[in-house]
């Protein structure tokens, strides 16, 4: 990466570098919870998806949901990581009202997935971010403090839902990289179907570790952990605010305390939650209710054989096979739905036009209406029809835009629109010649000017001819015949 793109924070002749590591909590896509058969469906009435196991009734025992194990392995493979054939579920002990067992079942010393990597496509090239580990754990319930003035209410629907905690190495250096990293992780997991990445529903949250150091320094500074940030925007805001807080402390000659902090989104600042001294002693130990998790080579191989083409590979294929630019390919593969849509469109239509129309007109409409591509008002089938109409000269690119605007309203078939509105392009040379003759007759003065050397007037004649054709004249033909007539 070139020097001038580095993210540095300036203070009187000094430049500080920001070191960021993320612990992403990604909810495993699974119908039932990690250790019980309760549903994980989002948005249900409070406490309607709670089994005796989730509520930690006496004598209840966890039984592992093998599907969640497979999802974690799949994600590990997607992160090009080492799958550990033996891993252990531990108990992380602490008291809280929404933690029914009094401990969270997690993985501490022996996670299911070891070191891996994620490639970021940054404007100046690629950057590799190391993955430290991925482990499985159960989510806690939810404490609700603002319904009853005197009591805290607890909703256990989320209690026991499977999470993957994906821990990055401290390789991230800017809020932009964090943005791209989260999006890339999300993209990989959505390709794999292991996490829907829905941040509004809390399916993806992160603890953000931030430290700063003078540019050129090789030792890490003291870090602070900002807990449970639930959007990319807030992560970026929290990083900027926290880095500046730390730099201010250093500039004033103070030290940074290693602590856990919370991000106050309203005030755009982080504040202390607990210091290192007050840190919980979680008393991790292997959960005696669960045997160590052993994964066979066969299972890993079976899962590997089911892994779909991932964004990096797909990007390469799009570039090699369709001649797309790296920029276009990156955009098209960033989301699996987009790439599927693209591939659907180009099944029967021109790649270049499809790329332009999807990344141009279609994205504009989606942005404007705040829709996902899966909710696209124009189907891949009708978009490919439109592209074919352009390609075979039935309509011009300009007319196509008019047609597209109408297609948005209820995914209308472009063939029918063109037919009903009579938008078919006039490509009959005789008809074009006739209307050009008319234009020349009506503008004999301009013709004289043109012939005397005023070349610029050519555009005027094209415009008049187009007008005469009510916009339907084939532009190439008009050009060609006009030239013959005027120059002949």
């Amino acid at each position: 990466m070139s020097k001038n793109s580095e993210y540095l924070i300036d203070r009187e002749n000094k430049q500080y570098e920001v070191i960021i590591g993320l612990e992403v909590h990604a909810q495993v896509t699974s119908k039932s919870k990690l250790f019980s058969q309760s549903s994980t469906k989002f948005g249900a009435e409070p406490n309607t998806q709670v089994s005796l196991v989730d509520a930690a009734f006496p004598g209840m025992l966890p039984v592992i949901n093998e599907f969640c194990i497979e999802q974690a392995i799949k994600t590990g493979i997607g992160l090009k990581a080492k799958i550990n054939k033996k891993s252990v579920f531990d108990r992380k002990n602490y008291f809280y009202a929404d933690l029914p067992q009094g401990y969270q079942i997690s993985q501490y010393k022996y996670p299911i997935v070891g070191e891996g990597k994620v490639i970021l496509d940054m404007p100046n090239g690629q950057k590799e971010i190391g993955i430290e580990r991925l482990h499985l754990e159960q989510d806690a319930g939810k404490s609700i403090h603002d319904i009853d003035p005197n009591n805290t209410l607890v909703d256990l629907n989320r209690s026991g839902v499977a999470l993957m905690e994906i821990v990055s190495k401290p390789d991230l250096r800017s809020p932009d990289e964090v943005n791209v990293y989260i999006k890339k992780l999300r993209s990989i997991m959505r390709y794999l179907g292991t996490c829907d990445g829905n941040m509004q529903e809390g399916s993806l949250r992160a603890d953000v570790n931030v430290s700063v150091r003078l540019k050129g320094e090789t030792e890490f500074g003291t870090r602070c952990e900002i807990k449970n940030v639930n959007s990319i925007k807030f992560m970026q805001m929290a990083i900027i605010s926290e880095a500046n807080r730390q730099i201010d402390l250093l500039e004033e000659g103070n030290e940074i305390d290693q602590e856990t902090r919370l991000f106050d989104t309203k005030r755009n600042e982080t504040r202390s939650m607990r210091s290192k001294e007050d840190a919980h002693d979680y008393r991790y130990f292997p959960d005696p209710d669960l045997l160590p998790l052993e994964i066979s080579e066969e299972l890993i191989e079976k899962i590997k054989s089911d892994i779909p083409e991932l964004p990096d590979e797909k990007k390469k294929r799009f570039i090699d096979k369709f001649n797309l630019s790296p920029y276009e390919a990156t955009i098209l593969v960033s989301d699996i739905e987009t790439s599927n849509f693209f591939e659907e469109v180009i099944k029967n239509s021109d790649v270049k036009l499809a790329t332009n129309w999807i990344t141009g007109e279609l994205f504009a409409v989606l942005n404007e209406k705040n829709l996902e591509i899966s909710q696209s008002p124009v189907s891949a089938k009708n978009l490919s029809k439109l592209i074919n109409l352009i390609k075979d000269g039935t309509i011009s690119g300009k007319i196509a835009k008019t047609v597209f605007e109408q297609m948005i309203d209820g995914d209308q078939d472009p063939l029918i629109i063109v037919k009903e509105k009579g938008l078919k392009q006039e490509s009959d040379p005789k008809a074009i010649e006739e209307l050009i003759n008319k234009v020349i007759e009506n503008n004999s003065d301009k013709v004289a000017e043109y012939k005397s050397g005023k070349d610029k007037l050519f555009g005027f004649f094209v415009g008049q001819a187009m007008k005469e054709s009510k916009g339907k004249g084939n532009p190439q033909l008009i050009n060609k015949i006009l030239k013959e007539k005027l120059n002949g």
Binding site: F57, N93, D281
Partner: protein
Amino acid sequence: MSDITSQSLFELTLNIKEKKLSSEEITKAFIDRAEKSRKLNVYVTDNFEKAVDQSKKFDSNPNLDSKLPGIPIAVKDLFCTIGVRTTAGSKILNNFVPTYESTVTQNLWNHGAILLGKLNCDEFAMGSSNETSFFGNVQNPVGEKLVPGGSSGGSSAAVAANLTPVTIGTDTGGSIRQPASFTGTVGLKPTYGSCSRYGIVAFASSLDQAGPMTKNVRDCSMLLEVISSFDQKDSTSIDYKRNNYSKELSKDIKGKKIGIPKEYRVDNMPDEIEQLWKNGITYAKDCGAEIVDISLPHTNYALPTYYIVAPAEASSNLARYDGVKYGFRSPGQNLIEMYEKTRSEGFGDEVKRRIMIGTYVLSSGYYDAYYLKAQKVRQLIKKDFDDAFSKVDAILTPSTPSSAFKIGEKTNDPVSMYLNDIFTVPINLAGLPGISIPAGKDKNNYPLGLQVIGKPFDEQIILNISYALEDKINFKNDISDWWLSE
């Protein structure tokens, strides 16, 4: 026909099958005797009314093919029972009524048995004398003011006093075998993974096992056959082919090799225990078994290992009793205060002691020195047994280092109390099956037990050896019914 309540499970089952007795007659006989035996304090919660209804229902359409046809059975109050209060002997679960049934008790009912009630036990099964129960101590029918052992003290007393034909207890470090030994009854702790832990209030998950407590070895084999089953709801349950223990029960132990571990000759062991063991060895030889001296070198470390591992697991297992979801709650100004008051008032001293020990040994900075080391020693203890079992078929030891003691005698000396488990805890740490059978009496005429330990999943051989020894020993519990009231 002898008095109904003094009959063995085998006899009662036979009498029901031959229609000499009805389930109602049997159920009412036990209830009647229980009503007169309140002084022993064996019941925490009785289920008498429903039991009579169920016995009538059984009699109206008896399934005589079942293994426990219409047999009323009281169980330790650590097994969750649908609609019947389950306390674990603790104030903190004083008002807890489960909406679910433990797998082990469900197996009983599936085979035709009827729930008589829930039997007293040490709080969360932590204790060796039944004195830590919130519901008061149980008296040993063997003698007044004598502890029945623990933690399954209500269960051992109930069997010895003919208040239930058989019962089931749980054993984490000796909680079935020690009370069996103290009351002149038979108690078996199965191999870890044989009986499902689903629905049993957990004490120490890696050690807890349910098991039968009975008047004799045959009953023990009959009950084990019913309660031992593979259960997908318990991830530590093991899927293996279980024997028809009662059908394959045999006194023929000729040529079986029985190991005598020298490390079990502990310092200050009373002579009468030494004598009891010698007699056991003689009887075993008389039955044609071969006696082999063996060594279990890490025996000395078993008790300290146990008192790290069990409290560590317990401290975590008992975290769920926090006043938030069910059970006892003492209100507070905020969450922390509510926790502190609920747990301070809801748990008894012994439970608190073990939670503190467990919390300590798992704390950062101490984990390696205590918990991790204990786990390593546990492996060595297990290996001792693996090595021994390459030479022998079973191991014979005393069940306890003493007979039953007086109520209150050891309550202020937890270490002396813990020493009661010295012969039983290694078996839990190694996950092996062990059985205690009555084998003699001390100078006070209190019962003493011998323990037979087997290879994993070889409950049959320890039952067979016990069956043979039982025949030779011909133990008679002379219980005078001193507690009965009209």
